[in-house]
């Protein structure tokens, strides 16, 4: 990645590194974020993949990558990155690897792994100070298996395992805070629908060493039940309603890279998705909508 600083959309890459033709759904918000990130990270990478929708990014003999990729398992992608990074470091030290052959280790996981099964391996990799970038596409459910509730499912959302009128009764886990509590090199939330914000964060991420999380909300037409065409609009609404705060953790401090003014009612975001349809039909569930709004309000009140 070159030295110049991305200031506007005009500075974003116009040539795409990630190959087309993958098996991801039409309108996939995760793939959108991945290609924006990959265009900037470049091919001198090993993408270490955990089980999730993107297991099938590469499907023999087809791969979208111009760099390297290693499929591991749902629980242990950070350990795969550790093995690759350690081996590269050792080979560099022993002068068995020319520096120009060096690679950046990138973990790629969905929320099922990142928030749940892979969390122990992730926490340990951060605590060891592993020099890697961790990209999570968070579509708020076990999407690859049909959108069952995961640890990232938001309050009130209907999933394949919480299909009742109240949807999922629990709360979305705060992965950003969990990462930040480890005091890593960098943590950022992004969304494919805001490519400039995303690009600036990737630029910063590659400029530092150590554990770095890029946590992308991944609007999911299949799992969230909306027209694929609306992926960007729903992504933008997630930011404008404040339900997906764009922020980063650097040098021990959290700052918001976008503070929505005015903040739109969260209902604008919910109403566009089939997974929240039960909040509006057959009768409007004012109580639940208000509950969700109150959570968002509370968050931003604390931001100050």
């Amino acid at each position: 990645m070159s030295e110049f600083v991305i200031k506007s959309m005009k500075d974003l890459p116009s040539v795409h590194l990630l190959g087309a033709g993958t098996a991801m759904c039409a309108g996939c918000g995760g793939l959108q974020a991945l290609h924006e990130v990959y265009d900037l990270l470049g091919h001198k990478t090993v993408v270490v993949n955990a089980a999730g929708c993107m297991t099938l990014l590469a499907n023999y003999p087809y791969t979208p990558f111009r760099g390297s990729w290693l499929y591991t398992s749902m629980a242990s992608a950070p350990a795969g990155a550790q093995g690759v990074r350690d081996a590269l470091d050792i080979l560099l030290e022993k002068k068995r690897l020319p520096p120009e052959e060096n690679l950046t280790a990138v973990v790629l996981t969905g929320d099922g792994s990142a928030y749940g099964m892979g969390l122990s391996a992730t926490s340990a990799a951060i605590e060891r100070g592993l020099d890697f970038i961790y990209l999570c596409y968070d579509n708020e459910g076990y999407g690859n298996t049909g959108q069952q509730t995961s640890a990232a499912t938001p309050h009130g959302a209907r999933t394949a395992t919480h299909a009742g009128v109240a949807g999922f009764g629990g709360e979305k886990k705060d992965l950003f805070a969990i990462w930040a509590a480890h005091r890593p090199a960098y943590v950022a939330t992004v969304i494919g629908a805001e490519p400039l914000d995303l690009a600036r964060k990737i630029q910063h991420a590659v400029s530092v060493k150590g554990p770095r999380l890029i946590l992308s909300l991944a609007p999911c037409p299949t799992g969230w039940d909306y027209d694929p065409m609306d992926t960007v609009e729903i992504g933008r609404l997630a930011v404008k309603t404040g339900i997906w705060p764009l922020k980063e953790y650097r040098d021990g401090k959290v700052s918001h890279t976008r503070v929505p003014h005015p903040r739109l009612p969260v209902e604008d975001y919910l109403v566009k998705q089939g997974r929240f349809a039960h909040l509006f039909q057959p009768v409007r569930n004012d109580k639940l909508i208000a509950e969700i709004q109150a959570r968002v309000d509370e968050y931003w009140r604390d931001v100050g």
């Binding site: 959309m9 040539v15 087309a20 033709g21 039409a26 499907n59 990558f65 111009r66 065409m229």
Partner: protein, 309 residues
């Protein structure tokens, strides 16, 4: 035995169509198998489901490669060899296509057997929700096999679509039965076959599997971006078309936001859509600031291309 394949795209409900027909056969006392066929593909990708129905226990399993009836919910699949619509069809197979031009397809496919069109069921009220493809396809298919009574079919629809709720269900039922009624002239044109195993088969061409070098023998891909050989453009039912006169050469909004890296931007900032890979999500249509990209139905777009040529 009856062997029936439903071809459609992810999201068109071919699994449901198979389930409705399966339940209808079951309701008539048949032994039944129905199953969807999954792959890596997602919404929009070609896929199929299949139904077997027999008066004796079924000694087959898996994909049907000798169908008596092939139902095609999306006529664009007819042009796609990878969709496998014509896999194993013979002159005795009936092909039921969701099209206005059954005879045209029969000519193009040079198919000697019967080709029928899925009846066009109007939305009611006009302009309302378009009829559920799975219900219409299942209704038509149920009439063609000639052994499913109207009331049995209705019962199957109630069973399979119950989760859609009372209002939807009534509508689904009307559509299914309308399709069933519309096919009365062809009732029973799909014939039940008696078992035809004659015991004479070619010997398998078994080999001793050779041990290959590690480079070949591991599931590793040394090619880069080989996914581009996968033509996901076939998933599309609508295509985005850029009007160059309206495009303001913004600065790669469509290209950046296209999830599939399927829009390339020239040095002079002119965007080009890669129709080999565009899956037709239409995100570009939604995000283009001057509304210079519109969605055109694939059939229409293909026709326009032909005229242009």
């Amino acid at each position: 035995m009856f062997r029936i394949r439903f071809h459609g795209r992810g999201g068109q409900g071919m699994k449901t169509a198979g389930n409705i027909l399966g339940s209808a056969f079951f309701g008539e006392g048949f032994e039944v198998q129905d199953a969807p066929r999954y792959g890596a593909e997602r919404r929009g990708a070609p896929l199929f489901s299949y139904v077997r129905a027999s008066r004796t226990p079924i000694q087959e399993r898996g994909v049907i490669d000798n169908p008596d009836l092939v139902v095609v919910a999306d006529e664009s699949l007819m042009m796609l060899p990878a969709a496998g619509v014509m896999q194993g069809v013979t002159a005795d197979t009936v092909i039921l296509i969701n099209t206005r031009d059954a005879q045209g397809w029969q000519a193009r496919a040079r198919f000697p057997g019967v080709v029928l069109a899925v009846p066009a069921i109007a939305a009611s009220p006009p302009g309302g929700t378009p009829p559920l493809q799975s219900a219409v396809c299942a209704g038509a298919a149920a009439r063609l096999v000639g052994v499913i009574r109207r009331e049995t079919l209705a019962q199957a629809v109630r069973l399979e679509l119950d989760a859609r709720g009372r209002l939807m269900l009534d509508q689904d039922l009307r559509w299914t039965l309308a399709a069933y009624d519309a096919m009365s002239a062809h009732a029973g044109c799909v014939r039940e076959r008696v078992a035809e195993r004659n015991g004479v088969t070619a010997a398998p061409d078994w080999i001793d599997v050779p041990q290959d070098s590690v480079r070949r023998a591991a599931p590793d891909i040394h090619a880069t971006a080989s996914s581009e050989q996968s033509l996901t453009g076939t998933w599309r039912s609508f295509r985005p078309v850029i009007d160059p006169g309206h495009c303001n050469r913004c600065s790669w909004i469509c290209g950046t936001l296209c999830p599939d890296s399927a829009i390339r931007v020239d040095a002079d900032r002119t965007p080009h859509i890669d129709y080999d890979h565009c899956k037709g999500c239409l995100v570009c249509v939604a995000v283009c600031p001057p509304h210079a990209i519109r969605a055109v139905a694939e059939g229409k777009a293909a026709a326009c291309e032909k005229i242009a040529q």
